[in-house]
């Protein structure tokens, strides 16, 4: 029973991070039909910013996290302006390839300037110290991940539901062209979407590296890909779908490792992508996604 609870704690943690990253993917996909392969690398950016803030600037944790969000968000907006906006109106494939190039650019810039050597990201002791509680081994960071993620998701939902720009974002993801005709500044909406999405990935990166203790230039790549699986589970383009999908994937992955025979536990990443293939086979639209009709 304790074992089950412990795994549940782990799954909630992992799921929270996947959900944060998946939301960012889904927001951008909803508007531009772009699978942003550089999204995971914004996690890396966030983690490095937090590392710099904690070790070089000796800032408190909360401000390091805020800084990571702001820097990642700003970089997201700049990338959109420089690399994606010139491609407006060209094929979807062009943006996808561009996002690959940006991913490679971020990874290799980090390798060149900061070396590929993994660096420890040490959170203050009062967050990272593990203690026993009712038979469970938990650290305050576990609780922080869960609470912070839920807080951010609530804020995001309110933002999308009630603010003007949030409403415009939802409108854009339904039909960009019509929204444009209604007098909405589509480019501004897209910039905001990229900013929000990158900021969420940035904080997710801090949480990820804070939990596992290391940052390297490739930290965010695989979690970014897995977050796409989470987005597909929930239905790409749907924000609540991304949240639910993130947690479902977190549970699936953790419980696979916890309950499959130990010989298989090395295959956890493979399991996630086999799961992706299975979902695409059975229900490509995910839980909340709409069937994408063919339009002429």
């Amino acid at each position: 029973m304790t074992y089950l609870l412990q795994q549940t704690v782990n799954a909630l943690n992992l799921g929270s991070i996947y959900a944060l990253v998946a939301i960012g993917l889904t927001i951008v996909y909803g508007i531009l039909r772009l699978i942003n392969f550089a999204h995971g690398d914004m996690m890396t950016v966030g983690a490095y910013v937090a590392l710099a803030a904690l070790s070089a600037l000796v800032l408190p944790v909360w401000s390091a996290m805020l800084l990571a969000m702001i820097v990642a968000g700003a970089i997201g907006i700049v990338i959109e302006r420089l690399a994606y906006r010139p491609l407006r109106g060209s094929r979807e494939v062009a943006m996808l390839i561009t996002s690959l190039a940006i991913s490679s650019l971020i990874q290799n810039s980090a390798t060149m300037t900061l070396t590929a050597q993994p660096r420890p990201l040490r959170l203050p002791a009062e967050l990272a110290r593990r203690f026993e509680w009712a038979g469970l081994t938990i650290a305050p960071i576990d609780g922080l991940i869960l609470l912070l993620s839920i807080l951010l998701m609530v804020l995001l939902s309110l933002f999308v539901k009630y603010t003007t720009i949030g409403i415009a974002m939802r409108a854009c993801s339904e039909r960009v062209w019509t929204t444009h005709l209604m007098g909405v500044h589509v480019n501004r909406v897209i910039a905001v979407a990229f900013g929000v999405s990158a900021a969420l990935a940035g904080i997710a990166g801090v949480l990820w590296s804070g939990k596992f203790g290391l940052v390297d230039p490739f930290t965010g790549f695989v979690p970014g890909l897995k977050a796409f699986v989470a987005a597909v589970i929930g239905g790409v383009g749907s924000i609540p779908g991304a949240m639910v999908g993130g947690y479902l994937l977190g549970f699936a992955e953790v419980f696979f490792v916890a309950f499959a025979p130990p010989a298989l536990s090395g295959y956890r990443d493979a399991f996630v992508f086999v799961l992706l293939l299975a979902i695409l086979l059975v229900r490509p639209a995910g839980l909340f996604g709409l069937e994408e009709g063919r339009r002429a």
């Binding site: 062009a94 390798t111 956890r268 490509p284």
Partner: protein
């Protein structure tokens, strides 16, 4: 190859390859062989990424499958006994000639592509990208964990060095000709139709999924053989050899050379082998000064790709082939209708 000039060019090429085989030093031989392998990779990827219009990111995975398959099939039995004592008996005893191992490598990669293709190819194009990257992760994880067959992270080394220049260029010629013929067959026309407008193609009776599958599986077959050639050139493979980095470089070859053109893919393959090779020289020359710039060559490639996407999305050759350049311009160039009014909102 119908004309006299074709045969002459072939003969001259063969003579050059033989000459290179005997006269050049090891370094240049290796670079030349890598050029041939990269051309195979680029041309095979251009089937999906250039002609049928999907973006496959699975080339590293297919190469890995081909490389491991061919390595296991050609390693001397005595060596397998030492390095991999727990192999199933039939595989431990098996020692195939290189040609058969090459074919097996291609077929296994094609099978993997087929399995991935079934759920994915009927969906919107970009699901393929994610699923093939997922395949890369799956293949890496399996290669890391399947100790009895792959030796895990240690990888397989001391493979027989079977990839001579003649093999590399001979097989390159075979793959280019097969893909050239395929693209100019009715299937190739169907691929173009699917790329330009899936719905319209379907309405004209093109079997969309089957067409995409053919492009994808054929591409994977040749990628698998390229992986085998590569394994027997470097003679050591490990799971980490087949990373995103490889896939990205092959995609860059197709994008920069010009998607939808076999000549472009060949050009991209050659350029994208020589340019990084040259840049790597700079990277390591700076290592002596205490500040190596590892990653520089990849940054240059990534920037180049960004610039190509913005300023020349059709790539260097823009869908034209060498034969078009020699004769007349084609009626419609792929990419010409990009940015047209109908596509504007997206």
């Amino acid at each position: 190859m119908r004309s006299l000039y074709g045969w002459l060019a072939l003969g001259a090429g063969a003579a050059l390859v033989v000459l290179a085989e005997y006269r050049l030093n090891d370094y240049y031989q290796r670079v030349l062989a890598v050029v041939a392998i990269n051309v195979i990779l680029a041309v095979s990827l251009s089937l999906t990424n250039g002609f049928s219009g999907d973006v496959s990111l699975g080339h590293a995975a297919f190469m890995a499958i081909g490389a491991y398959a061919s390595a296991l099939l050609t390693m001397p039995a005595s060596m397998k006994l030492l390095a991999l004592p727990d192999l199933p008996a039939w595989l431990a005893r098996l020692e195939l000639p290189f040609a058969l191992a090459l074919l097996a490598a291609g077929v296994l990669a094609a099978l993997a592509a087929f399995v991935v293709g079934i759920p994915v190819l009927r969906l919107r194009g970009h699901y393929l990208s994610v699923a093939t990257l997922g395949l890369m992760v799956i293949v890496q994880v399996v290669a890391l964990n399947w100790q009895t067959v792959t030796r895990g992270a240690r990888g397989l080394n001391g493979l027989p060095p079977l990839t001579t220049l003649l093999w590399a260029y001979g097989w390159m010629l075979v793959s280019v000709i097969v893909i050239w013929r395929l693209v100019r067959s009715p299937f190739g026309r169907a691929m173009l139709a699917v790329r330009e407008d899936e719905l319209a193609a379907a309405c004209r009776g093109v079997r969309v999924v089957r067409t995409r599958m053919l492009a994808f599986v054929t591409g994977a077959f040749f990628a698998g053989t390229a992986g085998a050639l590569w394994a027997h050139l470097i003679t050591a493979i490990a799971p980490a050899s087949f990373s995103f980095f490889i896939t990205f470089n092959v995609v860059a070859m197709v994008v920069i050379g010009g998607a939808g053109s076999i000549t472009g893919a060949i050009l991209g393959g050659v350029l994208m082998t020589l340019l990084p090779e040259w840049l790597r020289g700079i990277e390591t020359s700076l290592a002596g000064s205490g500040r190596p710039l590892y990653g520089l060559s990849q940054i240059v490639i990534a920037l180049l790709m960004l610039l190509v996407m913005i300023f020349r999305p059709q790539g260097l050759l823009g869908g034209r082939e060498l034969t078009d350049l020699l004769r007349r311009p084609p009626p419609v160039r792929p990419g010409e209708n990009e940015g047209a009014v109908g596509r504007a909102p997206r």
